[in-house]
Structure formats: structure tokens, C-alpha cells
Assembly symmetry: C2
Homo-oligomer: 343 residues x 2
């Protein structure tokens, strides 16, 4: 009685499936009608009792139908994951026409699309980018002993930052500093630069080096987060209860929490379900997200535990594949040759 028989599995899927659409406790009769017309409700009941004992199902109260536990959802998505393949490519055209505008706007568009297509609140968590290769560092004097640092990497330009220079420096100083910096940083990854083994040979530039390395460190910690469609949550009846909304809002306002939730170590798709995974009465599905073949973060969806996992996983998988394909593809619309690898 400890093992999931085949029928129990089908039953379990039936319960989860129904509950995902109805959001109300599922009775034995309902299952019989919708899924297993050839066995009696009594049989179903006894099977359900078994599943309940195993912790897959829960009864809100003794005379109510069954509701899936987190464990049930877990089972459900796990069995779902087994046949995840790149199926019919969903109409994510929008993402296809990836704009010229640099990472930020692509990301914004993507997160919007995900939210619209799935009808859940969607997330984009950009992560620290410590494996970017620094291509070039530029210093632009701004007068008043300040200069703008522009760090160009193979993944785009790190955002603007101003540093201060020692008293009384001139353009010449900037130029020599610049070439010195490029000499020791260009071509290396951010990780290795911030690793600490880089020292300006020249005492005069030490402070400058330190400032730039600090900037880089800051970027590494990264963690921009975009949330789209937060109000979509009210489409789901569980959010008539303020407590749940509270939990939801609290999660999506904590950037670090989101970061943690969406980061599956290396896995393509991560699914976190329920309180044990830090999201009471909620679920978070997330996938790696890449632009131009480089992984820059994770896209995700957050919603009720009875999320439409099928749909969500499909959408995220598709998006993931799309964004990865670009690697081969250059960033042009035509894919002739590899004449134009990444940006």
C-alpha cells in the first residue's frame, strides 16, 4: 500500500488537473464523471483515501472533497517534465524580432510576453554577470576631477558610473591610465579581475584601479529584477484572501528572495512549490534566460500552487530554447553562416 499503483497515479493526476481549473475540492463523483466513468465512486473513494494517507491529498474538512497537497503538485510537475520537448513553437514572435536596443529592452519585452501569454505574474531576474569578458574600458573626463567609466564587455555595456580622480589631473593622465587599465583588464573575465590579483604596477594609478575594481564588484553582485503583471494575480480566487495576497506581495517585493527562488543550479526549469520551498500557497516556475547565447538570468512565473504547470512550463521552455538558439544564429534575422556571432 506504500506504492503508487498505476491507477493511483492516474487518479492523482486527475485530481490535480481538475483542481487546477476549478480551484475547488474535488469529489469522488467529479472524478468519476470527468476521468473514470468505468469505476464506481466508492472505489475511487477508497483509492483517494490511500493517496491521502500517503500525503498526496488533503481534505479541507471531513465532509469535503480532496485538494492536492504540495507533494501532489510536485509529483504532477515531475511526471510532466518527463515529456518536455521542444514542441510546437509558440507564437513568441515578439521575442523573435529582438530589438537592437541592448539587453534591457529585450528583457522587458520578454517578461511582458510571458505574463501576457501565461496570464500569471511574471518575473525576470538578472544575475550577477561575473563571467563576462571585459573588452575595453574607457575613461571620459567630465571636469572637476571626475571621470565617467565605461566598461564594454562582450555582453553589453555596464552602466554608467562616475569616479573621482586625484587632484589636478589632466587629459594626459586619463589617457595613460586608460591604456594601463586596458592592458591589464581587457580580455579577462570580470570574475578573474575582481579575484584580486590585479594590481596597478604604478603607484600613481592605484586608487583608480581600486575604484574600477569596486565598480566591477558591484556589478557582479548584480540582481536587477523585473516584475510584470502583478495585478493578474487577482484573476485567481485564492487571492480573494488577503493573507495570500500579502504573501504574494511580500515575495515579489523581495529581490533577493526572487533571486533565490528562480535560481535552479544548472537545471533548465525549476519549480518551487509551497511553504517548504519558501512560497506558502504559491508556486514559482522559472527557466534560464539567455540573450545572444549568453545566459543572463532567469525568467519565471509566480502564481497559486494550482498553477497551470503544463502551459507555463511549455511557454518557459519555448522561450528558453528560442533565446538559446540565437547562439547559433547570430543576432540577425537571417541565419546564413556564422558571420555574425553575438553582438
Amino acid at each position: 500500500m506504500d506504492k503508487l499503483t498505476d491507477r493511483k497515479k492516474r487518479l492523482l493526476e486527475a485530481v490535480v488537473d481538475s483542481y487546477i481549473t476549478s480551484a475547488e475540492p474535488i469529489s469522488s463523483a467529479a472524478i468519476q464523471q470527468g476521468y473514470m466513468p468505468d469505476v464506481s465512486t466508492a472505489t475511487i473513494r477508497s483509492e483517494l483515501a490511500g493517496l491521502e494517507e500517503m500525503g498526496y491529498l488533503v481534505k479541507p474538512h471531513i465532509s469535503a472533497g480532496r485538494v492536492p497537497s504540495s507533494k501532489a503538485y510536485r509529483f504532477y510537475v515531475d511526471s510532466l517534465m518527463q515529456n518536455v520537448t521542444v514542441q510546437d513553437i509558440l507564437t513568441l514572435e515578439e521575442e523573435g524580432k529582438a530589438r537592437i536596443d541592448g539587453v534591457e529592452s529585450i528583457v522587458k519585452e520578454a517578461v511582458k510576453v510571458v505574463s501576457d501569454v501565461t496570464n500569471y505574474t511574471s518575473l525576470m531576474v538578472l544575475e550577477g554577470v561575473d563571467d563576462l569578458i571585459v573588452r575595453q574600458v574607457k575613461l571620459v573626463g567630465l571636469g572637476d576631477n571626475t571621470a565617467l567609466v565605461i566598461i564594454i564587455t562582450d555582453g553589453g555595456v555596464l552602466k554608467d558610473s562616475v569616479i573621482t580622480l586625484p587632484e589636478g589631473t589632466d587629459e594626459g593622465y586619463l589617457e595613460s591610465a586608460c591604456s594601463l587599465i586596458n592592458g591589464s583588464m581587457a580580455g579577462r573575465s570580470i570574475r578573474s579581475i575582481t579575484g584580486g590579483d590585479i594590481i596597478s604596477g604604478v603607484e600613481e594609478f592605484k586608487a583608480l584601479f581600486d575604484q574600477i575594481i569596486n565598480l566591477l564588484k558591484q556589478y557582479v553582485s548584480g540582481g536587477e529584477v523585473y516584475v510584470e503583471g502583478a495585478d493578474k494575480i487577482f484573476a485567481y480566487p485564492e487571492y480573494r484572501d488577503v493573507e495570500n495576497v500579502k504573501g504574494f506581495l511580500s515575495v515579489i517585493s523581495q529581490k533577493d528572495k526572487l533571486q533565490e527562488l528562480t535560481s535552479g543550479d544548472g537545471v533548465e526549469i525549476t519549480v518551487k512549490i509551497g511553504a517548504e520551498e519558501g512560497v506558502k500557497n504559491m508556486a514559482v516556475v522559472s527557466a534560464k534566460y539567455s540573450v545572444s547565447g549568453r545566459q543572463i538570468g532567469h525568467v519565471g512565473v509566480i502564481g497559486p500552487e494550482r498553477m497551470d504547470y503544463k502551459k507555463v512550463i511549455k511557454v518557459l521552455t519555448t522561450l528558453g530554447k528560442l533565446s538559446e538558439e540565437k547562439k547559433e544564429d547570430g543576432n540577425g534575422k537571417e541565419k546564413a553562416g556564422r558571420k555574425g556571432s553575438d553582438v
Copy 2:
């Protein structure tokens, strides 16, 4: 009976004041106790009846105390605004030590401080920046017929963008394009550049010009929005009701709505209260926000209609003054000379 007598005014303020802290209907007895021990509750009642008739007060039901209407709040803040002066500078030290990191992180810090100090959800709406002066435009070739455009203005660097070049261009092309572009754009405001009167004299560079102007246009539409402390809202009992939370969440997820709500034309402090102003059961207080003497957007606070306007207005005013003072000050903490500094 159509005019607000002096006593009525005091009474009105008393009601709003109490309600702001208690969130419960105010009875005549409560007012007598806390504000006017020298008149009887009966008198107060008859006065309140008058105020109610004038539309300042509302009774949830016939045997309940009074609750302020939006009109009452409006009166309240208006009378408040008359004695807004720079009072005791609040401990906004955090803002003082404005970091080196450029606008973005200053803004993030500011919005966080506002939320923490006021204990409301705070907003920062960055606006289109069409009066920035373009200082310099740089083109950095990236190979593969693409180039990075870096537009340096007196307000910082506009974000990274990649453009495509005509086939078969080389460094020389970039260089001459660059100087041509700078020749016609440097020193001018974004508004005037996008105004449309700039044309590349040379046919060869026309496409390039157009792309850059398009980029600028995009920036002008601007509208970055930061929201901090969204979950603080649950500290206030009106948000036990899901409907209100719904309204709240819906407002803070609409960037354009936030933009509209916080933009008071030229006014230092804007206060929008209630449904007539687009925020049912809520209020939004906002102020201009400047960095280094340049106005870059608006900070604001959103919360229940019975917001602690005194506190909020004080905080925002102070922050506004602080950020404007920098204009005079250079951008350093010590104001000796203009020797530079910042950090």
C-alpha cells in the same frame, strides 16, 4: 451655513487628525475628549451635521461616527501646505552621502529611504529627459557591422545601445561619422535634436543619423519607475479588504498611471486624493526630485486616503530641498570652494 466657520475648521481638522491615526469612525464624544473639552457633544454633533451636509464628512451608517470624505482630506492638506517651510532637516543622512554610482543607485537609495521613513509604499518616477544637453556622442565599433552608441549628456550616460552599420565599413568610417555627429549634436538639448531639423549633410551617413535620433527619441519617452516597500501597505487596516489591495496593486503596476499621478505641473508638492483623482480609496503625495540640481523625476508616496500627510509632506519636502541644494553646492558634502569632491 454655507461657510466654514472657524470652529468648523478646527472640528474638521480634528476629525481628519483622529481618523488618520485610528482608522475608525470618529464620534462626537471622541472629539470632545481629545480636542474640545469645553463644548458639549451635542454642540459638536450639530456642527458635524453641518459639515456632513457640506460634503466634508460621511457616515458609514446612520448610527456610526463620522469619517472624512476626500474633500475633507483635500481641505486638510491644503491648510497644511500653507505652513510648509524647510523645518528641521530630517535625518536623511543616507541621501546625503550620495554615492558615486550615477543616478540609478542614488535614486534607488532615495526611494528606499522614503519608504522606510514614512512607512508607506514609495515611488520614484523618472521622467523623459528631453532637456538634457548632449555632451558627446561616441561610437565604438564592435565588429560585424555593429557599433555601440554612447551618448554622454550633462545628466549622465544614456544607456547602451547597439546600432547596425552599412555593409563593409571600417574604423575610418566610424571616426568620421563620429566627428560629424558630434559636430551637429554636441552642445544641444535632446529636445532640439529630436525636433527634426538635424540632417546629415552627407548622404553616406544619413541612415546612421536616423538611427541615433531614433535612439534619442526612445529615451525621451523615458519613464523608468521604481516602487519600494509595496508590502508595507498591509500595515494599514483598510488593506484587509482585498478590493483595496486590488486597486493598490493595479495602480502601482501601471507605469503610465504612476507617471500621471506624480506629475504636478511645476508644483513642488502634488497631492492626489480619492476616486476623483484616479485613486479610489487612496492618496498619492509626490514631489519633484532632483539630482545634482537637475530635476530628473518625482518621488512619491502612495497609501490610504487617511495618510499621515503631515509626515509625508515633511519628508518629501525635505528630500526635495536637499536634492535641490546640491545645485548651489557643487555636489559635495563640504561646500568649501568648488574644488570637486562628490563621492
